[in-house]
Structures are given as structure tokens and as C-alpha cells.
Amino acid sequence: MTEQAQLLPGTLDLLILKAASLGPLHGYGILLRIEQITRGALLAEQGALYPALSRLEHQGLLTSEWGTSDNNRRAKFYRLTTSGRRRLREETQSWNRLVTAIGAALGAKPQEG
């Protein structure tokens, strides 16, 4: 078993938006896509995906409709809305800023006096 990182709190929404931005997906598909794009980062429990999906849909960032999956079963597909796309862009930028800042902070060396 490879070493797997737990997701940082608050990052799930961002990852869902990212996953959905690549094309309409059902819940399980989003899970797989997240695993794929994070190279295996894990949710503590896969069920936690669903409250997050519901919340994002409620905020108008995602929209959903019922369709047919690859294995010919009825499934609910999620798609990014325009405001979801905008949110993804904003969150990505601020995430990048945070990462840079934290990285710089952690990389700083004590000043030599």
C-alpha cells in the first residue's frame, strides 16, 4: 500500500470543482477523478463526498441531472456552472498564493547575526 495523504480540511470543495470542471461526472466518477488528479489522496470516508456535492449544488456552483452511466445504470451527473467556474478560478489563485506564502515561510532560514 502506497503512502496516502489525507485531504486538508476545506480542500474537498476545491477538488470537487476541479474534477467537475473536466466534464460532467457522477459522484463516484468525481471520487475516482479526485484520486487520479491528486495521485491517490484519500477521503477519510467516501460518503463525505455527498454533503459536499449537495452544498456546492445548493450554492449554485454545480448543477446536476440524471443520466446513464457507462455501465448502463441511472446516475446523477454533476456539471460546473458559470459561477462555479469563476469560484474555481478564484480559489485556485488564492490557494496558489497561500502555498507560495507558506512555502516561503517554511523555507526561511534563521538570519545570521
Binding site: G27, Q46, G47, N71
Partner: protein
Amino acid sequence: MFAQLRSLWKALWNRSQMESELADEMCFHLESRAQDLLRSGLSREDAYRRARIEFGSTVSYREKVRETHRVTWLEDFAQDLRYGWRVLRKNPGFGVVAVLTMALGIGANTAIFSVVYAVVLKPLPYADSEQLFNVFEARPQEGVTGAGWSYVNFAELRQQNHAFSEMAGNQSHQLTLTGRGEPSVVNASVVTPELLSLFGEKPLGGRVFFSEDGKPGAAPVAVLSENLWRNSFGADPNIIGSSINLDKRSFTVIGIMPAAFRFPQLTESEQVWIPLVQDPLFGGWLDRRGGHWLSVTGRLKPGVSMAQAQAELDAVSARLAKEFPAENDGWAIRMVPLQQMIVGKVKSPLLLLLGAVGLVLLIACANIANLLLTRATSRAREIAVRTTLGAGRTRIVRQLLSEATVLGLFGGVTGIVLAYWSVHGLSSLLPSNFPRTNAIRVDNVVLGFALLLSVGASVAFGLAPALFAAKANLQTNLRAGGVRSGESGGYRRARSFLAAGEIALAMVLLVAAGLLLRSFANLVSVSPGFNAQHIVKADISLPQFQYSKAQQWSAFSDELLARIQAQPGMQDSAVAVPRPIVDGFINLAFDIVGSPAASSSASRTVNYVSVSPEYFRVMGIPQLSGRSFDRRDVMSSPHVTLVSKTMARLYFPNQDPLGKQLTVAFPFDNGAPREIVGIVDDVRDVALGQAPGPMMYVPYEQAPFWGANLVVKSSLSPSSVATTIRQEVRKMDKDLPVTDVAMMPEIIEAAVAQPRFGASLLGLFAGLALVLAGTGIFGVISYSVSQRTREIGIRMALGAQRENVLKQVLREGTELAAIGLTLGLAGSLGVTRLLASLLFGVNPGDPLTFGVVAVILAMVTLAASYIPARRATRVDPIVALRYE
């Protein structure tokens, strides 16, 4: 927002569907996961177990999904409302002032709207009332409009047109009801048999008229209104089929109409309907083609447009004019929605009042907005803290707007309570002839209007302060503590703008009220041309079946006058039909003997009055030349007439009318030429506000009516005059009721009830506006002074004189007044033009009204600035500086 609404909708209404969808979704997830695990080599059992473990508890996740549906914005709103309530409670003075201001605005608007809604907007209380039209005849060239029909013309119209599914005619007058206790007079609608069925109203009992009831020779039948049945017949359950006496003739009651059904008078609750053919008065006119007396209502077929119907009416009128040119040439047929016909006259005064209260509300909103702006300045620090803690700008705006809504709703609810109280008073203030007053109440529509208005007003007065507050500079406000520093130029400008706007709006209202008051004053001071003082009027109507001949009518009034004049103090009595202002008028076409007949497009008309010789003395109408009537002017002597000054000027320019002869076409006049024997002064007979038109008087003996319309001038009390008249009438015929006894001055007063109502309400609103604007200016200047306490202190410490400080503050007020008055002047000039049709004897641009209003407003502004200015001069420099 839309997505949230949609999901709220789903959450509320499609709960079970959502639940099952969620279950499906999770099931699909588990299934797919298990399939994938199976493919990676797990046993079936293990794959499913593993999928379930990885997923976690479906129950608890389902609960978590449900939680996300709890609607956050609604909760935020509730929280904001609670917070707003707490803020209000912390500052009760501000709250009370704002809520009361708002309550006045909303209350006045709600009360007026309840009248407008009930009278103008609400559909008439008939089935599919939008299909009902009044169809009338008109002579467009002469400006004659709204004339009635002759029965023959109506019968042809009803037969020939295809646009209306049914048409019916009606006329109204009074009949004497005898045989049950005291003789009384009832309002009778004489109708063609289709009238009651036209409205689609079912009778309470019995039946409505069949078309057989309208044929000549049919048995006389009558339909009673529920209230007449209850009040005059004690709700007799066996009334249907029994007979009643109307004008001494027996009618069989066939039906009772429910109290809710009223036609033609919407204010009349007691009446009887009888077929036209049975009417003692109009029943005899059925075969005459001339005359315009039948009012016609039609129900338009569904899908037929007004234009189509009008085209048909035009065809009918062309055919009538071709076949019977003598009676119909020059006449056109027009139609107007029944609703418009009934409320047309009161619509524009009511809308004017609604506009006026709207302005009052705007001023109230400006006042509250100013208060909020002031408070927002002092709350700048709180808002800065919230912003730092992460509240977004929209969240702040939303919070402040919610607080405004709390204010608005409190004000609205208080206002609705005010409206509930005042609607009663308002309906009783309304002139008695105002249509549909019985429908005025605060009902759901009015409540909805009030609530919408409250919320709208909250946004109106809350938005600007909220936007300002949310934009405020964080750093300055946090550092400075907000109270004395952060008064930005924007705030001050906004407040000054609002205050100047209040002055402008108040000016518009004051000017409108001033004009209406002047117009009303003109109206009541206009001389009607007769002296109404100490004149009592009374009506005696003679039953047609008993008194059927003209000789009987004149004999009756002769004897009655002789009897009344024999009573002490009552020798000044006369009969006249119609009496000015009281009875309306009879407008007739006439010809001058020996001069070419008038062409139909320019026919001459005159208002015709039949009077006993004493009339001119009793009414104080001066004789200008020739002689008056006397006892020798009887039926057998030469026919004579007196004309009014205007009649002489209009139709006999540059010649002496005395000796000229006139003929009039009128069923009650025998048509013989009448010689003009004198000229009398003009009388305003139609309305006080209408200039006197041409009039002719004829001796009552030569043109009697079926009754005695009395005028008695007496220094005795009106009640003893009435008693005497009743006694004398009873001695002559015990079954004759004396009705409508009234004092002439009171009738004239009632005639101006509507302008008085409009002027006094508008005056009230203008006063309200003045007070609100005054307090608004006071608030702005006071606040600006308190903001500058320190500055003033420094200036005084540096040697500024008190007068200078006073002047400086007053200048601020004067500037406000100047801007406000300029705007107000422009607004008033625009608005008063709309008033022109309601004004009498005063120009919409009346300089006096404008001048007085401007002076009043300037003085109020100065007074409102003077108090804070005085306070500014008392600033103690040391205290002010220590304030730092």
C-alpha cells in the same frame, strides 16, 4: 439566488423525491465501487463489505446532506431581523421617531389606497363585469354626450346589433308605496325585462323578469331588493305572489334580489324593479322616437373587441339617421365600460390624492434615510469591526437593509392599524353621492399593498445608508473610533440632498393643496344667483294612476300653495320643477318663431324650468326687464315665458327679446309658441362651478308636473316648516308622503362636498409634509452642528463672534431651502398642470399660491435651522476642545 430558491423549493416540496434520489445516488456509488473492487480480484462478499466500509455510514451522510439544504440566506435574514430588533431596542428614541414617521406615511397611503381600490380598481360587483358597457347617444358636434335613448330606438338597437349578447334599458324615479303602514316613497328602477338577467345575478327567492313581463298588457309585476323586503315588509316569507301598491296600483311581487345586488345606484340598498311598460311615468313614452331618457347597458359577447362593437353601433346609428332623420340626424352611438361610467368622475381626484400621499411617504422615507445616515456614521466603527472579521460588503448591506426592514415593517404594521381606524372616518367624510363607498375596507388586497409598500419603503430609505456604510473606509473608522471623525463628504452631501428633496416634495404638495383650497374658496363664495338663506325644500310626488291629468296636477299644487301660504310665517312659498342645484336640469331644444330653424348640427338648447309666480320673489332672483308671472298666466291665457340674461345675450344679440316667441319640444309642454314677457337674472342651476347657461321659465299653470316641488322661505325652524307642510298635505290626501325635506343651504353645501373632501385631505397631507420636511431639516442641521462642535469651539476660541457662528449655520439652512425651493418650483409647475381640470377660478400657475408656499417653506426651514444654530453659539470653547 435562483439556484438557492430552486433548491429551497425542492427542499420544501419535493422532500421525499430528494430523499429517494439521494438513496439511489449512494446506492449507485456503492455498487460501482464494489464492481471495481471485484475486478481487482476481491471476492464478491469482500468487495461489497469493503465498499461499504470505505463509504462510511450512509445514514449519517444522508443526514449531513439534509443539513446542507437548510436555507442559509433565510437564516441569515432571520438573524439580521433579530439583530435589527435588538439595535432598535437599544435606541428607542430613534426607533419611535422612525416607526411613527413610517406609520404616518404607510397609514395615509393604505387608507387612501383602500378608497381607490374599492372605488376605482375593484371590478364592479357583477359577473364578468368587464363585459358590461354603457351604450349612450351623443351629438359630437355640440359636445352633448352620455344622452339616453328613446325606447323605440333602443328596441331597434337591441335587435340589430350582434356584438352584444344582451342589452337592457333602465330609468329611475320614485314611487309611492302604500297599503302597509305609513305611506312611503321607494326608489324604483323601471327596466326592460332583460335587465336583471343581464347581470347574471340569481334572485334570493322567486324569479326575475321574463320577456313576457315587458309586453304591453302583461300583468304588473315587481321585484324587491332584499333590504326593502326586510325593512318595509318585515321579511315576510310569503311575499312572493302577494301584491303591493305602488302609486296606488297593485303589483304582484315575483322575486327578491339579494342585498349584494345593486343597480343602477350602487349606493342604494332599498329599491324595487318594475317593467318599463308598467311604469306610470315612462310607460306612456314607449312609442315616441324622440327623446333621450333610457339608460342602456349591454353585455359584450366574449371575443368581440370594443372596436368591432363600435363599428356595429356606427352602422346602427347611420341606419337610424337615414330612416328617421328628424329624430336621429346628428346623433351618434357611443359605448364606455360600465365601470368607467360609474367611477369616471371621481377617478382623477382620487388618483390625485393617492399621488399626494405617495409624496408624503417619499418625504417620510427621506426623513428616515437621513436618520439612518446619521446613525450609520456613529456605527461606522461597529461596521468596520464586522468587515475586519470577514463580513463581505453584500453581507453588511444585507444586514443594514434587514434592520431597515424591521423599522419598515413595524412602521407598516402601525400604519395599517392607523389605516383601519381612519378608513371608517374617511368613508364618512366622503360625499354622500360618492359611488361604491360601501365597498371601502382594509381587505387582503389593501393589506398586501400596505406590506409591499412597507418593504419597498424600507429598501428606499435603507439602501443608500447601507451602501454608504459598506463603502466606508475601514482604516480611518477603526482608528478614529468612528464617532467624530468619519463624516465623509459623501454622507453630508447625501443628507443635504435628501433634505433639499424633502423641501421640494413638500412644496409640490403645498402648492397643490393651496390651489385646491383657493379653488374651493372660490366655489363656496360664488353667488348661485339666488338667495338660499332660510329656504326649505320638500317634495310631494303625485301617484300617476290617481292623479293622471295635468289639470289635477296644477289643481293640487294650487290648493297646496294656497294652504301653505295661509299659515303664519310661510307666505313666501312656491313650486318649481326643476329647482336649481337640487333637482338637476331639463335641457331642451327650442326654436325662435320667425327665425330660420336651427340646423341639426347647431341646434339651440335651453334649460327649462316651470315655476309658480312667487318663485322669483322666494328665491330672490332679480327681474331685469319686462314683467314677471302672475295668477293670470293660466292654461287658457296666452302662453308666456321669461328668459335669463344669458339666454337673451346668446340668442337675441343686439335686439330686444321681449315680444319674441319660442317653441320647445317637451312632452309636458303643449308646444304652443310662448311669448317672452320678461328677462330675469342668471342662476347657476347645474352646478356652482359651472357658469350660468341660457334658461327659460314657464308658468307652472301652463306646464304642470305630477307633483309639487316646494320651496318655502321662512324664518321658522325647518322642522316646524316640515311639520306644517306634512299637516297640510295630509289634509288633502292622507296617502301622500312628503319626502326629501331639506334646507337649501345644506344642499348647496353638499354640492361642494367633493371638492371640500379633496381640498381638506390634500391640505392635511400637505401639513403632514410640512411637518416632516421641517423635522428633516432640523435633523440635518442639528447633526451637522453636533459634528462640528469642535470646529466651532476652536473658531470661537480664536475669536469668532456668536453672530458669525449663527450666520454660518443659518446659511447652511438657507442653501438647503434655496435648492429645495428651486427644485420644488419646477416640480410644482409640472404637477399643477394635471390639476387644471379640478380647479375653479384659479390658474394652475397662480403666483399668489406659489409665493405664499415658498415663503412658508423658507420660514419653516429657517426656524428649523435656527434652533440648532442657537445651540452652536452656546458652545463653550473649553468644553468643545476637551471633548477631544
